[in-house]
């Protein structure tokens, strides 16, 4: 990784030379559409929405890339791609791709890129996307920018990928000027979900994968799905209540869960709570945890360090409860309450409960 972010010195790698001749054929914007177990990951649709804008700005086509185990899944996922903005879809369908494995997926992706030559290749910054992107970029010896939060096309037509660095204290814009494709992984939930255009359609290009199961060293012995009730739905919840060290004890975290329950939302916490073992890692909100984009976010006893801020800024309404009037969270909250969360949370839970039940009776 770039050790210290620094603007590139003029006259060196930072200067755009004419793109090498063999890269000039690289055109079009591609989005890898993660669809493990037949489920399209929402970040892929978000990327198609953003990819559409990039492709239009470049005057090129937007393609979805679907790697999966069977033709039915490929057809369903391709349809979803078209409805979310893709002009065409490349499908590689083979039983060896039914479960994600680095080796066959890297092979399929590098084959596709070398054959059809995209200028921009985008993936979700999920475990799958990051596992795959690192291998593909190293195989192709091209630039890859991880965990981006913003994508744009600059005046010279190159991809400008912006990402938080140093735990979110700074943002930096990174470019791959002289290599193709320009690759980036993008964080789920930072880009808006595009509207579905029912009936929109496009071309399907089928690409073969010449790989037999016997050629693949790594085997998937089994897949143990998470139990539905244990799954944190944080990233896609409309209402999220979260707690921080201001709750003072693990027991008090129950107050956060109680409010989330009354509101039908999900709950999470800041990084110190994970480190203290009060909540599990998949409930961490912030730069090294989940990015959320709820309609309503209630932060109780969270100081609002920049690492937390970058994970919640996309919320429509941020309500902050903190005893310290100078807490950083009040710099980006919409609604502030200088109060002790331990006292206010139960009262707020009760207020909502009473309000909702009264109105329900009235209705």
């Amino acid at each position: 990784m770039t050790d210290a972010p620094k603007p590139a010195p003029a006259g060196r790698a930072g200067t755009k030379r004419e793109l090498p001749e063999h890269f000039k054929a690289y055109k079009h914007v591609w989005v890898v559409v993660e669809c493990e177990h037949g489920v399209v990951h929402p970040v892929a649709l978000e990327l198609l929405g953003e990819g559409r804008k990039l492709a239009d700005k470049r005057g090129v086509e937007l393609a979805g890339v679907v790697l999966c185990g069977d033709d039915l899944t490929a057809a369903l996922v391709a349809a979803a791609c078209f409805e979310h903005g893709a002009d065409l879809v490349y499908t590689v369908t083979d039983p060896v791709l039914a479960h994600y494995r680095n080796e066959p997926y890297t092979r399929a992706m590098t084959d596709l890129v070398n054959t059809h030559k995209p200028e921009i290749l985008l993936l979700g910054a999920t475990n799958l996307g990051r596992d795959l992107a690192g291998s593909v970029a190293t195989t192709l010896l091209t630039g890859l920018t991880a965990d981006c939060t913003e994508l744009a096309i600059d005046d010279e037509g190159s991809l400008a990928a912006t990402r938080p660095t140093f735990g979110g204290s700074l943002l930096c814009t990174i470019m791959t000027l002289n290599y193709r494709p320009q690759m980036a992984t993008v964080r789920p939930r930072v880009l808006a979900m595009p509207a579905r255009q029912i009936g929109r359609w496009g071309r399907v290009v089928v690409h073969p994968l010449n790989l037999a199961e016997d050629d693949i060293i790594t085997k998937v012995l089994r897949f143990v799905a998470d139990r539905e009730s244990d799954k944190a739905q944080l990233a896609y919840a409309d209402i999220v209540v979260a707690g921080g060290l201001g709750l003072r004890s693990a027991e008090n975290f129950q107050l956060v869960r109680a409010l989330a329950e009354v509101l039908g939302g999900d709950y999470g916490g800041s990084r110190p709570l994970v480190q203290k073992g009060w909540i599990s890692a998949d409930r961490q909100i912030g730069q090294t945890g989940k990015t959320i984009r709820p309609k309503l976010y209630i932060a109780a006893g969270i100081s609002g360090a920049i690492q937390h801020r970058v994970g919640v800024e996309g919320a429509d309404t941020i309500v902050a409860i903190n005893t310290d009037p100078n807490a950083q969270i009040f710099d980006f909250a919409h609604l502030g309450v200088v109060a002790d969360a331990i006292e206010l949370l139960p009262a707020l839970t009760e207020a909502f409960r009473a309000h909702l039940s009264v109105n329900r009776l009235a209705g």
């Binding site: 990784m1 770039t2 603007p7 994600y100 475990n127 660095t165 990174i174 085997k219 799905a225 207020a351």
Partner: protein
């Protein structure tokens, strides 16, 4: 069995401040630490060594002061430390970093025995890319196992390994052949307190220091800024929100009254919310 753990020395990100005028990182006085994610990799390596015998080598690329982190790793019980340091590595992005580390790993294999397992943390807390591990695996032809929560089985004689890997929506149980690159998931173990013996040993230990040439790198064009296809075009601090926070008055009100006004303010901000909550509360 010889195991190598790749680590990085990083600034303690919780303490980083950005200069309000120049938008640069104020590094002065910011303590450096071993990337916390790498400690899960180190502990896993130490446990395997304790169980199966062999040695653990820690490897880092960085400025001379990164020696401090290596010495710290020795106090936890690592047997050998290698520091890859050269001005030619300055400004490396992930591709150039994986090139240099892969070269150093090959050299480590020649000097101290080929490692069947190379560990890294899942990502660093400063760069947060999670790309260097896969890059090393690809360059050295190691089977890649990322986000590993548990090493379920390891048979060095048969040359096989089975792991539980954190995937989207569940856990994959993967079996593959050695050699492998494993990136460990966070929170799966806890770094040990090193023994007093380890502390003494660490204080006296000689850190192996290699330049690019020492590591057998001849093509310097693949190192540092020159070997990095990505360039940092712009660095800037996050924008402050223009709109100020609206504070709900808290003076001289009971907690119940405060809760009522907070609820009213929330509904004012989100007029549609009340109806949606009502539907949720009414149930299906």
């Amino acid at each position: 069995m010889h195991i190598v753990v790749c680590m990085k020395q990083v600034p303690d990100s919780a303490q980083i401040r950005v200069h309000p005028v120049t938008n640069t990182i104020m590094r002065q006085g910011v303590p450096t630490i071993i990337n916390p994610y790498d400690l899960f990799a180190l502990e896993e390596a130490l446990r395997l060594r304790d169980r199966l015998g062999g040695e653990v080598t820690v490897l880092t690329m960085g400025p001379p002061m990164a020696e401090e982190s290596l010495r710290k790793a020795l106090t936890f019980g690592a047997d050998r430390a290698v520091l890859l340091t050269d001005r030619f590595f300055a400004g490396s992005d992930t591709l150039a970093t994986s090139f240099a580390l892969a070269a150093a790993l090959a050299k480590i294999g020649q000097e101290f025995g080929v490692p069947p397992i190379v560990f890294t943390g899942k990502q660093t807390i400063d760069g947060d890319t999670a790309q260097v591990g896969p890059g090393i695996a690809k360059r050295l032809g190691l089977n890649q196992l990322t986000y590993v929560a548990k090493i379920a089985d390891l048979d060095p004689t048969a040359g096989t390994i089975t792991v539980e890997r954190r995937a989207e929506g569940g856990v994959q149980v993967l079996s593959t052949r050695l050699p492998v690159l494993v990136t460990m998931l966070e929170g799966v173990n806890e770094i040990r307190r090193g023994s007093l013996d380890d502390a003494y040993r660490a204080a006296r230990a000689t850190i192996v220091k290699w330049t690019a040439a020492d590591a057998g790198i001849t093509d310097l064009g693949k190192c540092g800024l020159r070997g990095s296809p990505t360039i940092v075009k712009k660095v800037f601090a996050p924008q402050a929100r223009a709109e100020k926070v609206r504070q709900v008055p808290t003076a001289d009100v009971s907690t119940e009254a405060l809760a009522a006004s907070v609820m009213a303010e929330i509904f004012k901000c989100q007029p549609a919310l009340e109806g949606e909550l009502m539907r949720f509360s009414a149930g299906p």
